[in-house]
């Protein structure tokens, strides 16, 4: 029995049917060259041997004396968590993303450990996917991506036990008892922040942030415009995903004097601008993105440890280079502030960690005056090629959380030489999400043209797109 931190438990408290609080990873694999027709069956039979789960995959939440606690599930049933699916014909990425859209809209059963692992067969050429869904109370996006990568092998010859059967140092034993002092301090900060934020909530903390920003109000507006993304959401989801060559982003960054992160934000900004233009809903003021920043060191314990910065996406600017320059200015000022203000940083930790619960909690009147318009999260991923029982991992896509008044979330995961963009949205308030993939293409080409970079031949690195 182990109490959840206030931040982690907030993900349970704030969860509703319209606002499930899980994150997921969609991985696409190529079978090994010598794989027979029973490769998936063998993989599942192999995984099926691991009938018990290690932390955190054996923990279910129980409410005791008004506090959420983790307890070990004594009736752990692997058959419930491990699920075999097949794509219907014609088995394109389109069918895969339709299934992921549905799976991501389903609430998990809180009577069991809060994760589900799907093996999805039926892509052309024997390719297959895994979609692994974990509650945000159990892991944040960064630790989720990290343990998923850790669970895979670095060579085709090696096989490891499945995710739930591996020992992850950050979750071994009683995470909180073994946590370093810094974490305890952070948790105390989160508790302090949580106390002030959770019930009722005004913009008190934001006022503190505002004070903290000094005289640079122009670069960091806390008053974001109203957009179609900042509305109440429904319980259904649409997921769209596509991979791009990291080299293209790097070339743009080198030519424009920007980091890959800034280029990524600029490309999202271009896509968002186009989407809103087509929807006839582009506001005159620039969109503001909330960009999570990990505070995690390699040796830290599990749980949620992130800070944030707010980036001006300059969607009001037509010129893609001016837009990128404005973003660079905005994020570098924000990073300066983060580095120089430990007190703010601690508070921001608490705010950010619960930010996926919606800016309404922070501002009280999100629709009229959203704090920010969209979350854009760049999750670090593995650089080297990874394998699952000999199958090569080809593509990695994060699937994050839309929330009340934040109907769209863009999360990007690096893997090897590519960046996997995952757009997840409320299916009702963000119509035609799949068009965002075309607009992302266009935003990259637009920057390349402006910088006189020759775009690659029409053959994209991974032109796998779908609604």
């Amino acid at each position: 029995m182990q109490a959840l931190s206030l931040v982690d438990s907030a993900f349970l408290w704030m969860e509703t049917r319209n606002q499930p609080m899980h994150v997921a990873g969609l991985n696409i694999y190529s079978p090994p060259p010598n794989a027979g027709p029973h490769f998936i069956a063998k993989l599942l039979a192999d995984w099926g041997q691991h009938l018990s789960a290690r932390p955190p995959f054996n923990r279910r939440p129980v409410l005791r004396l008004g506090l959420w606690q983790w307890e070990e599930d004594k009736e752990f049933e692997l058959d419930y968590h491990l699920r075999h699916l097949a794509l219907p014909q014609p088995g394109r990425i389109r069918e895969l993303l339709a299934i992921v859209s549905r799976l991501h809209g389903n609430l998990m059963d809180r009577n069991r450990p809060l994760w589900e692992a799907y093996v999805i067969e039926g892509l052309p050429g024997g390719r297959f996917a895994t979609y692994i869904k974990i509650h945000h109370a159990l892991v944040d996006g960064v630790s989720g991506a990290r343990i998923m990568a850790q669970s895979l092998s670095r060579t085709a010859a090696e096989s490891k036990p499945p995710l739930w059967a591996q020992r992850f140092s950050q979750y071994s034993g009683d995470a909180h008892a073994s946590a370093p002092a810094g974490l305890i301090a952070q948790l105390a900060g989160a508790v302090r922040a949580g106390r002030e934020i959770l019930p009722g909530v005004g913009s008190g903390l934001l006022d503190m942030l505002r004070v903290g920003q000094g005289g640079k109000a122009s670069a960091l507006p806390f008053q974001a415009p109203a957009t179609p993304f900042n509305v109440e959401i429904s319980g259904s989801r649409r997921f769209a995903a596509q991979s791009y060559s990291l080299a293209r982003f790097k070339r743009i960054g080198e030519a424009a004097g920007a980091t890959v992160n800034d280029v990524t934000l600029a490309i999202c900004a271009g896509a968002l601008r186009k989407y809103l233009e087509v929807q006839k809903a582009l506001p005159k003021k620039p969109l503001i993105a909330m960009v999570p920043v990990s505070l995690r060191g390699e040796s830290d314990a599990g749980g949620n440890q992130v800070s944030l910065l707010l980036a001006n996406l300059a969607t009001n600017l037509r010129d893609p280079l001016k837009r990128l320059a404005r973003i660079v200015q905005s994020t570098s000022e924000a990073k300066d502030r983060l580095g120089s203000m430990p007190r703010l940083q601690k508070l921001a930790h608490g705010i950010t960690s619960i930010a996926p619960m919606g800016p309404a909690m922070l501002t009280g009147s999100a629709r009229q005056h959203p704090t920010f318009n969209v979350i854009i999260s760049n999750v670090p991923g593995p650089r080297e090629t990874l394998f699952l029982n000999g199958a090569r991992l080809d593509e990695v896509y994060p699937v994050s959380i839309p929330t009340q008044y934040l109907a769209l979330n863009i999360t990007i995961s690096g893997y090897g030489d590519s960046l996997g963009f995952g757009y997840i949205a409320c299916r009702r308030s963000v119509p035609a999400l799949q068009r965002m993939l075309d607009y992302t293409d266009e935003a990259i080409l637009e920057l390349e043209r402006a910088l006189a970079i020759k775009p690659p031949a029409r053959k994209r690195v991974a032109p796998r797109k779908a609604k």
Copy 2:
């Protein structure tokens, strides 16, 4: 805009993650002999033409002034409701039922019309299934089964529009305005009953039922024993299903002087007795089943209109013939009472309609003193063979609702010469549900042996069983 009756809206109020309130039908089809490899694709393309839905499939619930109302979904999105799935290898009924178990545990999105239609390909020999899930607030099990049957064709040559695009007289226009006077009276009764039952609730209505039963307490005990089925439930489900020849049930009934309904109850009783024996949890007192009885006439409007009887399942008796005789006595007494007591009938209507919300509402202390132990529902089905765009309907299985303190529900649907048994249970509190299928087999054989009826050769009509 149309207000829900109190009974229908109660299904929305009482729904939780652990207690979803939808019913479903699982149909299994054989493709026509001349079907090419694209039969399913053509079926889906055909259905995909019907982009708008008719009542009740275009209605979404909205809460106005504290009352649930139906309103037309102006942004109806067929692509959300119509879903294409495929069975993973080896594509047995086992894999089908594993998928249905999962789908049935998911809450629907209340921002949309409360139904989902799945076409599931990949059974051997080109067979396929449909699993159609509808919220109990939209239709009860009987009208659901009826409109599903109505939506199919009586000849292989005929094709009809899909379920959601057909006009059903019972839902045309404003159901309540066009309802006959009898329905208005029933609704008023339901409202009266609902007012007394819904908040707080004592056993007041049950006391009235007790008074109504006169001196025959021995045959209709309102105090059912504690069993493993009468516990709090989780949000995960297990579905098990199997079909039997109606002729076998008829032969048993003729030999023993019992109706098919009574034989069905006796077979369930035999299976339940064996299951509880193996679980070392067979109570000394007999289990009590709640058996819904439809009050619906052919011309009635939609909604929920059922009454109930409580049947003594005589699970304390080892002898299968004595058990059957006791069940016959119990149900005939209950029917006599139903027929002679119009006032009781009206109240029972209200009670029954919300009974799936759990006997705890009726008794207040269901765990110690359940009112009844299990719901066994025999849904009338079509006698003639039905077709879907030329594909023959082979098997029909209802999938009903486990609730708090009623962790197991058995619903049986007649179709042609067979009876489809659908066992649906909380996956956590009713372990090894699939064994119930073996015990059902044994219960039939036990009765046949006792009555010296020669059982059919080992080849069963539809020996499709799985967990």
